[in-house]
Symmetry: C3
Subunit: 116 residues, 3 copies
């Protein structure tokens, strides 16, 4: 593994892998961290929305379309982020993945209206 | 949109929006990111706790009070964060929103005691 | 509380606690933030996987083993992170905690195969 490509956030990791000079920030690592953070911001709410939405007894076909759009949108988002694809590829993929989330949130809100 | 207010974390976004000099950190953007991160740290656990708590068949009125306190606390937290309200407004809102979470966690622990 | 140990991300918090010079980054605070972020990246998916896995009617003993390994792994991970234990203690604890997550994800995928 080429040491020149190494970067560690923690000194104890750098010490084990070449020395303290590798306890540093690296633009590519920061990019991965931003992609990962965006995943957390979007995928975790999707998991919650998808679970509650599934309890509303939706049409399996409609539910599959929701999950598929989100899944494809997020995969394209990750590829666009890591390969630095030309803007606005990443933003479009992000927005597409948001659509099924908004749709599920709306359906959950409508289904729970009687209990407000 | 005034270009002087722009800041992008990714060079490909800056290139499309005025130039590479806008690939930079901005104090207001960092503030929003901190508020968003705090939301993740608190709202995601709430969603899990709230879902499990709801399966314990709680009194709907008591459950509503739990959810309402959390909701108001988090909205005040976000307003206090983004408008830089005088400390400790934000911390108090944060702590108030934690109360229903602790209460729900405690009730879940108590309800599952027989199965330990 | 010794003021020399203080660090705040927000100027309004620093102003209330000694002055603007304490609006700064601190290596120990950054370390805690990294540990907390790693918790979010791992514990939130575990909560989702654990909830869905529990609906598959697993053997309570097997489920307990899954949850216990994750729990111990994450506690060791946090201790190793905050006490800067020698590498690769932290990475090993992280990997051990991943095992029950992979196992649960696999069992969920297998159980849902008929509905694909």
């Amino acid at each position: 593994m080429g040491t020149v490509l190494q970067a560690f956030a923690n000194p104890e990791d750098a010490l084990r892998n070449g020395g303290l000079q590798f306890c540093r920030k690296d633009p590519d690592v920061e990019r991965c961290r931003r992609a990962h953070r965006n995943d957390m911001e979007n995928i975790f709410p999707f998991l919650f929305l998808g679970a509650i939405y599934s309890m509303l007894d939706p049409s399996p076909t409609v539910a599959r379309i929701h999950f598929l759009i989100f899944c494809v949108g997020r995969i394209v988002h990750t590829i666009a982020y890591l390969l630095r694809l030309k803007a606005p590829t990443r933003s479009v993929a992000y927005s597409v993945a948001q659509l099924p989330c908004f749709s599920m949130a709306l359906q959950i809100l409508l289904a729970t209206t009687p209990y407000w």
